[in-house]
């Protein structure tokens, strides 16, 4: 991997050299540099693979001459503390970006709980945030279920919106799995387990509401906390096993997929579904021995199912050759980075070709109504939400051939490299509702 990166850098340098030498003066880097940051839990495979998407987009852009003559410098910040995301670490990262006037915006964060802490400090500075992965609806929408949590206006105050996201929200993600289980898999009773986090409670609540609305029965809704439960889930599972499926709301860094392994240990065979927090490599590893059939939603169209994305993914694979370099949110991050760079470009143009202010970048971002990305053609509403309301459903298949692994999502086990999430179906809530 190190060698591959070296090659990329080398070829990039060559391309830049050619660009500089070949074309008229005034191309890449001649006007100065603009920085963009990202804030992900890069200690996890999910966070790292998302960061790779941003890096790839920036590298491509610089190789093609930068943005309106400016060179883009990308800096990846890590919000991990003790192995999982931490809102305080995220806030510290955003402060660091705000202190450097060259930063014109950021991609991220990865986790909704981090976004909740970061938006209040970024909004007064008009600092653009585009998240490739946040799915908690309360960050942008003022819907009834947020009344017990928080509202967007609590986060940004009287400041104009500074937060956009390229994925849709848990109020679609939860229901998508409910629809799938109830209508397509013909499951009438479920049990729910959540990890007591902002994300886990939100998505499992949305699932529960939709499943009940469809006429299904929720046998039991249990929750746990990682630091109290350890890895001992058998008795929790035992209390739920009268259900014909288990829905989990949570993320792998809270050990949400360990129950999957233990279902086998207590002799409970039933479908196991969850949100995008389990569409990860670590989840497959945690479910060791019982990986097959894990169902997961992802709050966006699958890049591998979008014809236009094929080319980009192939190029990405050439640049990043590691087995776990490509993840469920890599292409979303790639799009988010390109949107941010487009907004920066527009702001430079409206500023007469010179360095824009953060306010100008924010205003330019608010004006983007259509964007042709690799995950589809979409725009944003005034809340900052994508007009694309597609939720994809994935299933873990084991014993895949090498070719199948390559054509899957690329989210495979570390231990079991031929167990991967494979695209199953998708729900488009923009057309159905």
């Amino acid at each position: 991997m190190v060698r591959a990166r070296g090659l990329v850098v080398l070829s990039m340098a060559l391309m830049v050299a050619f660009a500089c030498g070949g074309s008229s003066p005034g191309t890449s880097g001649s006007k100065g540099t603009i920085k963009i940051g990202s804030d992900f839990p890069v200690c996890t495979t999910g966070g790292q693979s998302t960061s790779n998407g941003v890096k790839f987009a920036v590298d491509q852009k610089n190789a093609a001459g930068g943005v309106e003559g400016f060179k883009i410098v990308y800096q990846s910040f890590d919000d991990c503390r003790q192995g999982s995301y931490n809102a305080d670490a995220g806030v510290a990262n955003v402060r660091q970006m705000l202190d450097d006037s060259a930063f014109m915006g950021m991609i991220g964060p990865y986790n909704s709980a981090v976004a909740k802490a970061e938006i209040p400090i970024a909004a007064p500075k008009n600092f653009v945030m585009i998240s490739p992965a946040n799915t908690n609806p309360c960050l942008t929408k003022d819907i009834p279920s947020c009344s017990t949590a928080y509202h967007p206006q609590d986060l940004r105050g009287s400041n104009p919106n500074n937060y956009w996201r390229v994925v849709t929200t848990d109020d679609y993600q939860g229901p998508a799995m409910a629809d799938y289980m109830f209508k397509q898999a013909n499951i009438k009773t479920v049990a729910i387990l959540d990890d007591s986090t902002v994300f886990g409670v939100g998505i499992s609540g949305a699932f529960e509401a939709e499943f009940k609305k469809l006429g299904g029965t929720v046998v039991k809704h249990q929750e746990y906390k990682k630091d109290q439960q350890g890895t001992q889930f058998q008795s929790l599972l035992q209390s739920m096993r009268t259900a014909s499926a288990l829905y989990v709301g949570g993320t792998d860094d809270q050990n949400i997929c360990i129950p999957r392994a233990q279902m086998k240990q207590i002799g409970w065979t039933a479908p196991f579904g969850g949100g995008d927090g389990i569409e990860t490599t670590d989840c497959i590893d945690q479910a060791s021995g019982n990986e097959t059939g894990i169902l997961a939603t992802s709050a966006g169209a699958d890049a591998t199912q979008v014809p236009g994305a094929k080319d980009t993914i192939a190029k990405f694979r050439q640049a990043f050759t590691g087995a776990n370099d490509f993840g469920g949110y890599t292409m979303q991050a790639y799009d988010a980075a390109n949107i941010l760079m487009t907004a920066i470009g527009n702001a430079i143009k409206s500023n007469g070709g010179s360095m824009p202010t953060r306010k100008q970048v924010r205003d330019a971002m608010a004006k983007i109504t259509t964007f042709q990305g690799v995950i589809g053609n979409y725009g944003f509403d005034q809340n900052g939400d994508t007009t694309l309301k597609i939720v994809s459903i994935y299933e873990v298949k084991t014993g895949l051939s090498d070719a199948d692994v390559k054509s899957s999502t690329g989210v495979c086990g570390k231990k079991l490299a031929n167990a991967c999430f494979v695209w199953k179906t998708q729900f488009d809530f923009a057309t159905s509702s």
């Binding site: 439960q229 001992q232 209390s239 392994a261 240990q265 002799g267 590893d285 021995g289």
Partner: protein, 328 residues
């Protein structure tokens, strides 16, 4: 019998009656949970023994003990990674590896724990009691940091090399694993009891715990005896870590904090310093956690465990079996 004693019996009686009601209402469910509780409890008991032994002899709450337990699972999974063990079916190689993994990891952990004692606790033996407590906490963070740097923050897979045999008896599902955990733990506890009560070194330990100065006057090598205590405590934690890994298949670097806290609770529950007390305390806490998870709800489990602990300590300050080792 005094008033607190009555309170204690009323408390126990209520718990037993509530459980019996559930047992009659749905026997299968109850029996199934009993299996989970016993396996959990057996592991807690092994860790609790280490706490109670160290406390009994030098009155130190060895906070690093839970992390020694986790570290043994990390060492175990690394050693297992060297062999082409077969996950999913039981081969002759698996059996051979299983037989050697226990002594090897236990001895390594014993050595590490003796080193910890030498570096972090022995220099502070005559310091105020708070000082070694703080170094114990520091050692706990140090070990967690080592595991974090070694294998990263994500969960670590532990190879599942035990036979996959499972069966259902009267609706209760259990497998070789469950029997293995309970039997191994029982054997280890029996060996420990034999060692403490029947050997010279065991006698030296009991003497040192009773009165260190008098024991020294009688010609007992105090440093060696205390080191031996740490060694044996780590043997049990080491076995516990391997058993945990084999049973649950997944460990992570922070596991020791929670397991240690619960095992320490179990030791206090049974009467800290009291070896049979720690074993019984571990079993009871394991059962409590399992029954609370299923009958009360996962979110209340920690509350129930510590609620019972408070109840027991209020009515019986010396723990369930009382402290056999007199306090100094």
């Amino acid at each position: 019998m005094s008033l607190p004693d009555y309170g204690f019996y009323i408390l126990c009686g209520t718990a037993v009656i509530l459980l019996l009601t559930e047992a009659v209402r749905d026997t299968t469910n109850f029996a199934q949970t009993l299996v989970f509780g016993l396996t959990q409890g057996a592991i807690f008991a092994l860790v609790a023994l280490g706490y109670t032994m160290v406390y009994g002899i030098i009155e130190l709450i060895n906070f690093a003990h839970g992390d020694v337990f986790t570290l043994s699972a990390y060492v175990g999974t690394t050693i297992l990674g060297l062999f082409a063990v077969n996950e999913g079916s039981f081969t002759a190689l698996n059996l051979a590896v299983l037989v050697i993994i226990f002594p090897v990891v236990m001895l390594i952990m014993g050595g590490i724990n003796v080193a910890i004692e030498r570096v972090a606790y022995r220099p502070l033996r005559n310091a105020p009691r708070l000082a070694p407590l703080i170094t114990a906490i520091g050692m706990s963070f140090f070990l967690e940091g080592v595991m974090f740097l070694w294998k990263g923050p994500a969960t670590v897979h532990f190879p599942n090399i035990l036979p996959q045999w499972t069966t259902t008896v009267a609706g209760v599902f259990f497998g070789f694993k469950d029997i293995f955990v309970i039997v191994t733990a029982a054997i280890l506890v029996a060996l420990l009891a034999f060692f403490i009560n029947r050997t010279r070194l065991g006698k030296a330990m009991r003497a040192t715990a009773q009165d260190r100065d008098a024991a020294q006057l009688m010609g007992i090598d105090i440093n060696r005896t205390i080191a031996a205590t740490f060694f044996i405590g780590a043997l049990l934690a080491g076995a516990g870590g391997i058993i945990y890994g084999l049973y649950y298949g997944t460990v992570y670097y922070q596991l020791g904090f929670r397991t240690g806290l619960i095992a320490f609770t179990a030791a206090v529950f049974g009467g800290i310093g009291n070896i049979p007390g720690a074993a019984i305390g571990g079993l009871i806490i394991g059962l409590t956690a399992a029954f609370s998870d299923i009958y009360i709800g996962g979110r209340w489990t920690q509350v129930v465990i510590f609620g019972i602990l408070i109840g027991v300590l209020v009515f019986r300050p010396t723990g369930l079996l009382g402290m056999r080792v007199p306090e100094k």
